[in-house]
Symmetry: D2
Subunit: 108 residues, 4 copies
C-alpha cells in the first residue's frame, strides 16, 4: 500500500500534468493572460485534494509579433498546494535549462 505522503505526491503530479496538457497551446496575449490565469487556477482547484493553485503567466516574455502566442511552459510559473488526509504537498513549475520543470517543494 502507498503511504499518505506518496498518495499526496501522486495527486500533486496528476494536477500538474493536467494543468500543463489541458492548457498548453491556448492562444494568449498580455491582455488575455489575466483571465486565463484565473480560469486555470479555478479549473484545477476543482480536482480532489487540491487546496490552491497560483498561476503566473509571464506576459513580458510572450512573443507578440503576431499579436498573441500559444501558451507553453516557457511562459508560465505555477505553485500548487495539495492536502491528502493531512499530508500537505507544495509543488512548483518553472523553467530550468529550457525545460518546464515540475518539482516537489515540500511534503509535510
Amino acid at each position: 500500500m502507498a503511504s499518505d505522503a506518496q498518495q499526496a505526491c501522486f495527486e500533486a503530479g496528476i494536477k500538474f500534468g493536467a494543468l500543463y496538457h489541458q492548457f498548453a497551446g491556448t492562444p494568449v496575449s498580455p491582455a488575455s493572460a489575466p483571465s486565463l490565469e484565473t480560469a486555470i487556477e479555478e479549473s484545477i482547484e476543482n480536482q480532489p485534494f487540491c487546496e490552491g493553485v497560483a498561476v503566473d503567466i509571464l506576459t513580458d516574455r510572450l512573443d507578440v509579433e503576431h499579436g498573441y502566442t500559444e501558451l507553453t511552459g516557457e511562459y508560465m510559473e505555477v505553485e500548487m498546494r495539495i492536502d491528502y488526509e493531512g499530508t500537505e504537498v507544495v509543488a512548483e513549475m518553472a523553467m530550468q535549462d529550457g525545460y518546464p520543470l515540475m518539482e516537489l517543494a515540500s511534503v509535510e
Copy 2:
C-alpha cells in the same frame, strides 16, 4: 482561388475547432464556469479575423455528483463573429441529436 466569403467560413471553422479541442476536458463546476467562459472568449478572440466570441456554459446541466465534471460540447453554447476582408460570418455551436453541432448562421 478561394473567395473572401469562403476564406471567412474557413476562418470561422478554425476558431470553432480550436475552441472545442483546446478546452474540452477542462475540469468545470458551477462556481468555476464564469472564469472559464471569459478565458475561452478572450483566448479565441486573440486569433486573426475573430471579432467576438460568446460562450455560455450550461451550469444547470453540469453533472456535479463528484463536485465537478469535464467540459464537453454537451455543456456549452457558443456564438462567434468573424470578419474577413469585409465579409462577416456568424457561426454557432449547440447540441443537436446528442452531437455538438457547429454551423454557419449567416455569411454576409
Copy 3:
C-alpha cells in the same frame, strides 16, 4: 443560407482547428513521430466530411536536447481533403513567417 462551397470551407477549418489544438503539446520524439502521425490522421478522418488527412512531423527539426519535445505547428505539415455535398476543398498547414499558417489550397 451558406452555399455548399462555404460549408465545405467551414468544415475544413473545423478539422484544422481541431487537429492543431487537440494534439499541440503532445510529447514527441523522432522515434514516436510515426505513430503520432498515424493517430492524428485516423482520428481527424473520423470527423464528418473529412476524406483524407496527411500529417508530416518534421523529425529533423525536433529539438531533442531533452530526448523529446512538445508538438507545435513548427514541427508539422498537414494536408486535408474535405468533401461537402460534392464540393471538394483541399487545405494545408505549414509554417510561414514563424506562424503555422492554415490555408485553402483549392475549392472545387
Copy 4:
C-alpha cells in the same frame, strides 16, 4: 526533501494527468482506436522516468451512433510503470463509480 519514493509517485501522477488531458476529446472510433492507443503509449513513454505505458481503449463501449465519439476516461484503461532512481511505481486508471480513478497500484 522529498524521498525517492515520493518523487516516483509525483512523476507517475504527472504522466497520468498529461496522458488524460492531452488526449481527452480526441475523435475515436473502433477502427481508429488501435493507432490512438499506440500514439498515446509512445508519446507518454517519451517523458522522463517513464518505463512503460499500456493503454486499452474499450472499443465495445464507444458510442458509435455518429460513427465516432470523443475519448474520455469512460473509454480507456491505462497501466503505467515509473522508475525513479530505483523506486518502481505502478499506477493504473479505470472507471470507478462513474469517475476515471487514477491510483497507485504499487510502490517498491
